[in-house]
């Protein structure tokens, strides 16, 4: 059974800007998620990774317009907008948000909030709800009795665990995690990441981990996609992304991340990402690339396979382009 559980096809998201015009936040993103797979979506701020997974959940505001298909078991959940997405939210795809620690309603008890998605989808009543909530809490490492606590009585790490419990309440098949450990201490981060991995295995979940932190993706995920300026610029196994990057941005991003035991120089990437409220010509990374050459400024490189399960959007991988220049 190796059919992808989730397929994203040519996803575009635009945001209307107050001052007029549009921001093209996600520009033709496509990827597949297999059952039980842990997939990383990596990029810096503004690259569109959070918007991408919000689109998968249909959690975009009225200023957003979306194009493309999101196939869950062959059905396009975006086909009819909110109508087609909402039955799948929480039951098939669930999400843990950035700052999930602050995503709880401060005046409702944790237990009630975890039960909410279940009640919403009519999956639990009365006593069985309480029992299920207790089980979920225990599974994420919180004593079941704490279901009657309020969010402010939990530490940051515990709230994150509770957020995970809430996401798993309706037994989804896909879990989207947006920067799940960003504001947490290193040790708590390790605990949460270990928990995520365990839950993914136990519940048979497919995990999409969105983060700017490359080492986390290297540790947790088997495959990843690197995003830049709304596009996926490289995708492949985390092993090949590190040992054999095919896009300069991927390579430079790794070089910009200090390693505990690495002796090499850490470099920064000069310049800033391009504005997404204008049409881009050529490769979006060209102005900052250290291997830029002729075709880069005028021709946008498509995402092309460079090996088994490995693809990159860079002219350097295209023998035709290299000869022509």
């Amino acid at each position: 059974m190796n059919e992808p559980v989730l397929t994203v096809e040519d996803l575009h998201v635009w945001f209307e800007l107050e001052r007029g015009g549009e921001l093209h936040a996600v520009q033709g993103v496509s990827f597949e998620l297999r059952p039980g797979e842990r997939f990383g979506l990596v990029g810096e701020s503004g690259c569109g990774k959070t918007t991408t997974i919000l689109a998968l959940m249909g959690l975009l505001p009225s200023s957003a317009s979306v194009a493309g298909r999101v196939l869950l078991d062959g059905e396009d959940v975006l086909a009819r907008g909110e109508q087609s997405v909402s039955p799948h939210r929480w039951t098939d795809i669930a999400m843990v948000f950035q700052g999930a620690m602050n995503a709880f309603n401060p005046v409702k008890r944790i237990g009630d909030q975890i039960a909410e998605p279940m009640k919403l989808h009519g999956l639990a009543e009365g006593r069985s709800t309480r029992q299920r909530v207790g089980e979920l809490l225990e599974r994420v490492g919180i004593p079941a009795a704490r279901a009657s606590s309020y969010p402010h009585e939990f530490s940051g790490g515990m709230r994150q665990r509770a957020a995970l419990a809430m996401a798993l309440a309706c037994k989804p098949r896909v879990l989207l995690a947006d920067e799940p450990t960003t504001a947490l201490d290193v040790m708590v981060q390790a605990q949460i990441l270990q928990l995520l991995a365990e839950l993914a295995d136990d519940f048979g979940l497919s995990l999409v981990l969105v983060t700017h932190d490359l080492p986390i993706v290297a540790q947790v995920c088997e495959r990843a996609a690197v995003m830049y300026a709304g596009e996926i610029v490289e995708t492949g196994s985390t092993d090949s992304l590190y040992h054999d990057p095919k896009h300069p941005y991927t390579r430079l991003l790794f070089s910009a991340t200090p390693d505990l035991y690495g002796e090499e120089d850490v470099v920064s990437i000069p310049g800033t990402p391009p504005r997404l409220d204008r049409e881009l010509v050529g490769c979006p990374f060209a102005p900052r690339c250290d291997r830029v050459f002729e075709p880069c400024a005028s021709i946008a490189p498509p995402l092309r396979p460079t090996g088994a399960g490995h693809a990159a959007a860079c002219h350097l991988n295209d023998p035709v382009m290299r000869v022509a220049s």
Partner: protein, 322 residues
Amino acid sequence: MSTIASGPGAAGAPGDPGDLPQARRRRGGVVWSIVRSRPQAAIAGNILLVTILVAIFAPFLAPYGPREKVGPPFAPPSAEFPLGLDDGGIDILSLIIYGSRVSLVVGFAAAAVAMLIGGAVGIISGYFGGKTDITLMRITDYFLVIPDVPLMIVIAAIWGRSLTNIIIIIGVIYWTGTARIIRAQVKSVRERVYIRRAQALGASDSRIIFRHVLPQVAPLLVANTVLTVAVAIFAETALAFLGLGDPSLVSWGRMIENAFVSNAISVDAWWAIAPPGIAVAVVILACTLLGTAIEDALNPRLRVGHLSVRRFRLRPVPKDAA
């Protein structure tokens, strides 16, 4: 094609702010840009402007003098006297025009007094916190519970009915609202990192207050002051109506008082009562609209439209997709 500004620590292509918002050079400040962008504020502002101009140029605009008897008492409105005459045969239109002066002077001056006291108390209280804050808030509470009209009656009775006294009384009673609002904002501004940085630098408190806190608080102070003008004008009108106004000056409140005292109602002389009342109402309304428009603009949290998710729209995939 592109030469990369490489080398360690390159600050990024100079002159290119990347995908940052276009520079908005604030000309004339936040308040002005708010007024310009909201019709409600612009209309209200224009009404106020007209009123101010009328007050300034009163002698040139009024057809007759404020004490000039030009016809029989309570003459109804006519082509010659568009608003009729009062009990002393004086042209009401001229009275309205001249009366705007006192109302506006009192309104603005009293609001200024309230702003100075309230602003100072709010800033000191919010910035220093601790015992200072508690003490000042206690004092504010005391002033808050004083019933305004009785106090004004008492003070007017003791110290006489002069314009200055009226201004002081109104200012001293109405500063409390400003103080609380400013204090709240100062408390939040005080926690901003750049304030801590200034403190870590060794900047004196007065420097921090005047150069960092005050500019941040100023727009709200302006909005609040405009609202206080409305309150002050009303207070002056009420005082004058109660006979506590300066007897030597014409004001809208005095006009209404005069009309009642001279029994305008019994002769159905609505033109002696309605115009000043309407004038007061219009000016107060204009101030309130302007003030709340500025306040609303300064308080982005009041907008909740952006919180509605799930209402995204669909559109076809662009043809030139890679």
